[in-house]
Amino acid sequence: MKVLVTVMPKVGVLDPQGKAIGHALAGLGFAGVGEVRAGKVIELEIAETDAARAKQLAEEMARKLLANTVIESFRVEVA
């Protein structure tokens, strides 16, 4: 079962990368770009057939390793 863990900087945490991307887009002539946030996505193959259990497992992985909850929030989707 494929699971997607998306990790984003928390609101209030500096996101220099997102900011720089916003700048660069403006520099390339893209108008009307507002806030930009840059995060990570981790795609996992899990040997699990139950979606709820897969989700629970991935959430545990996110809390333990994939996200640093001091600065990041995460969400899990089962594909």
């Binding site: 990368q17 720089a20 991307i21 660069a24 520099g27």
Partner: protein
């Protein structure tokens, strides 16, 4: 040939001939394949012949010329022919080094192209049993306003840093040039220097019938497989899946591989070892068996694979990174496996040595290739391609070239120009200090200085001096003088730190060798290099050739990049270029005001012509030996060689490095001032010494031309006549260029 042995699945004759052409084999080369095999080849066999006989692996156009380079000296332990050169640096220690190009991949994917270039050269060095202690590079970019070029510059610099920083090998030096002739073909040459015990050098010579062939490192994927694979109808599956993919560097895996290999090398389990570089498993297995006069049987089912359904052809041609092939002593597999498992790397026995003199490859129960090794090497194509001499350019008379702007404006323009501006923006992204032994980092001396930890451990304080050099515009105007100059400048840069230059590696970057004028450049450059190496006792111990550097028929400037290595017995003797106050400035060497091909001529007068400055090798040697002697006698507080931009640029560089100005005396009346201050005559140094008169006496006694040209102190460079250029102004011009150019390239995600 009749044989009762089974045959691999052979290609149909027409198909084989067609594929051979697609894979780059010329018709007569393919005829030789047929003669060696006595039959048509299998797909895997054809792949092996095509990569082994490629320019990159066989050096078919360059070998006849490279033979002219001097490669011997009493301190040379291993010259060209192994993965890297080895020299004796005293105390039972050896320096192992080589330079290699990754030009084409760096243009396609700058970050990973440059990163894997660094990874590849590191493997060439630690495969010999050496711990890498320093990386350098030699970069040539197109003009920053050329399409894509800023992205290339940014990606290459990040890639070199990304890889070197992560593996923990300091990047301590390099050089960069910009020229429109590199717009479509930048050059990325990477050099690694390592240290081994002189009596513990590992080589690629496989011996011992039955000995296991062991694969270690990362898994094999479809990275970098010959693009021609695509055209092959054998692969009917999803075309997107089968497309050759760009090699991605994994410096973390490399770091583990270094530690694991060195740990195993500390035992006596290894018979031979070779990294899987270009043409991966093919070249490593063929070369190891070939060097030992052995045969080799491989079973590919056991190769660690990253992707499903890989064929024998793909595995043999994959250029996945961070992999090594070893021959172990019998019964040592478990000991070795334990080490690689500890470092979380793959380990697999994938075959054994035989006495057949052939390489056989099996996969899924089928024979995929069976090739006699001796003719694969001895029958490899070798060309003496036609050459055409580069026409000589006239020697320019400085009196006929007026100065349009004045010395002060010219100086500010020059120190801010692309080829002379500060490289700080680059080296600030490279960890130059990791290891704790970098005594002179980029910008601090003419060569980088790194102490040898093994020397410290045994009570010594020995250090290596390292540099990369080449002046391509000289090489274009006169490849022979340019080749000479590149070697001489490397020697001079090492000398200027007080170190004794010992040997070089080279990276010959040229255009299409099938054009006589390009092959002529190559031959002439080798001639010049050979003359300089001989005169300076500075032999070539390793090197690399990169040809076909052309886009749309226009070749790059001929660029024989030189990497030089020297030794300092005591790191405390190292001299840098930072100018202290209150000292006499002494110019060593003869100045004729040579403006031909100078940066002043290009940047100020807008001309790129004339003969480049000749190198008088006798004077070079005499001047350098004298300077080194004075440094070692403790007479010299700072020293800088004179190269691009000449005397005034050198003085400005020393002033900026030391945060100290100087007042300068007028030059000889016979020369126009701009020729005196900006001419690029060779074999010269600028020294800061406490006792100028004493030094001049010593110089006169040794027949060395020397002249006092000023005194250090103050906050400005004061030109004859009183015109002052403040350090602040100089710094702004010098430091501002690259940051301003690259300001809008910061958003790349990694």
């Amino acid at each position: 040939m009749t044989t009762s042995a089974p045959l691999p699945a052979l290609l149909a004759p027409d198909r084989a001939a067609q594929l051979a052409a697609e894979y780059g084999l010329k018709p007569d080369e393919y005829d030789r394949v047929l003669a060696i095999l006595g039959r048509t080849p299998s797909l895997t066999e054809l792949g092996i012949f095509s990569v082994m006989w490629s320019e990159h692996c066989s050096y078919k156009s360059s070998r006849v010329w490279l033979r002219e380079l001097p490669t011997k000296a009493p301190w040379v332990i291993q010259g060209p022919g192994e993965n890297a050169g080895v020299i004796d640096i005293g105390e039972g220690l050896a320096a192992v080094f080589k330079m290699e190009s990754h030009n084409h991949p760096s243009f396609i994917e700058p970050y990973n192209g440059a990163a894997t270039g660094v990874g590849g050269i590191l493997r060439d060095v630690f495969t010999m049993g050496a711990r890498p202690i320093a990386n350098l590079n030699a970069l040539r970019f197109g003009m920053p306003d050329a399409p894509r070029m800023k992205r290339v510059i940014d990606g290459v610099v990040r890639g070199i840093g990304g890889y070197g920083n992560c593996v923990g090998v300091p990047t301590v030096g390099g050089e960069v040039n910009f020229h429109p002739r590199y717009n479509g073909n930048p050059l990325v040459n990477a050099m690694t220097v390592g240290i081994a015990r002189a009596d513990r050098i590992f080589t690629a010579k496989a011996t011992g019938i039955g000995n296991p062939v062991v694969y270690v490192g990362s898994k094999t994927g479809r990275d970098g497989i010959h693009g021609a694979t695509m055209a092959s109808t054998e692969f009917s599956a999803d075309a997107e899946e089968k497309r050759p993919t760009v090699q991605i560097g994994d410096p973390f895996a490399e770091k583990l591989l270094i530690e694991a290999c060195l740990e195993l090398m500390a035992t006596d389990a290894i018979v031979a070892i070779q990294d899987m570089g270009a043409a991966g498993l093919t070249s490593s297995s063929v070369e190891m068996a070939g060097k030992g006069g052995m045969g080799i049987d491989l079973v590919l089912d056991d190769v660690p694979q990253r992707e499903a359904g890989m064929t024998a052809y793909e595995m043999m041609l994959s250029e996945s990174q961070e992999r090594m092939l070893m021959i172990l002593k019998p019964g040592r597999e478990a000991q070795a496996e334990a080490i690689f498992t500890k470092w979380e790397l793959d380990f697999a026995v994938i075959g054994h040595l035989t006495d057949t003199g052939r390489i056989t490859i099996r996969h899924r129960g089928a024979l995929e290739a069976d090739i006699p090794l001796a003719p694969l090497e001895s029958e490899a194509p070798l060309y003496r391609r036609p050459t055409a001499e580069t026409p000589k350019q006239p020697v320019l008379d400085p009196a006929t070239i007026p100065d349009p702007v004045g010395l002060d404006k010219a100086l500010l323009t020059l120190v801010g120009s692309l080829d002379l501006c500060s490289r700080r923006w680059i080296w600030d992204q490279y960890d130059s200090m990791v290891g704790g032994h970098t005594a002179r980092r980029p910008g601090a001396a003419d060569a980088a200085i790194v102490r040898v930890e093994e020397s410290l451990d045994q009570g010594g304080n020995r250090a290596l001096a390292m540099t990369t050099d080449c002046t391509p515009r000289y090489c274009l105007a006169d490849p022979e003088e340019g080749g000479k100059q590149a070697v001489a400048e490397a020697w001079r840069n090492i000398t200027a730190t007080g170190a004794l230059p010992l040997a070089i590696t080279d990276n010959m970057n040229f255009g299409n060798p099938e054009k006589p004028e390009i092959m002529g450049q190559f031959a002439a450059a080798v001639r010049g290099m050979a003359a300089a190496c001989t005169a300076l006792d500075f032999p070539v111990v390793s090197g690399n050739v990169s040809l076909y550097n052309e886009t749309e028929g226009r070749s790059i400037l001929p660029t024989p990049a030189i990497g030089g290595v020297g030794v300092l017995e005591d790191v405390a003797q190292a001299t840098g270029l930072a100018l202290p106050p209150g000292l006499d400035l002494i110019l060593v060497g003869e100045t004729r005001g040579w403006l031909g091909q100078s940066l002043w001529l290009r940047e100020i007068a807008g001309r790129e012509d004339g003969a480049p400055p000749p190198v008088d090798l006798g004077a070079e040697r005499r001047n350098g030996d004298a300077v080194r002697g004075w440094i070692r006698a403790g007479l010299v507080a700072a020293c800088h060689d004179l190269s691009d931009g000449g005397l005034l640029v050198a003085a400005a560089e020393m002033a900026m490095a030391g945060g100290c100005g100087a007042s300068l005396d007028p030059g000889p009346a016979a020369l126009p001032p701009h020729a005196w201050w900006f001419g690029e005559d060779q074999g010269r140094y600028l020294l800061a010494v406490a006792n100028g008169a004493g030094l001049l006496r010593a110089a006169a006694a040794g027949g060395v031309p020397a002249l006092r040209i000023g005194r250090s102190g103050g906050e400005a460079l004061v030109l004859p006549g009183g015109l002052a250029i403040s350090l602040a102004e100089l710094r702004e011009a010098h430091e501002g260029t690259l940051p301003a150019l690259m300001a809008d390239t910061g958003m790349q995600a990694s």
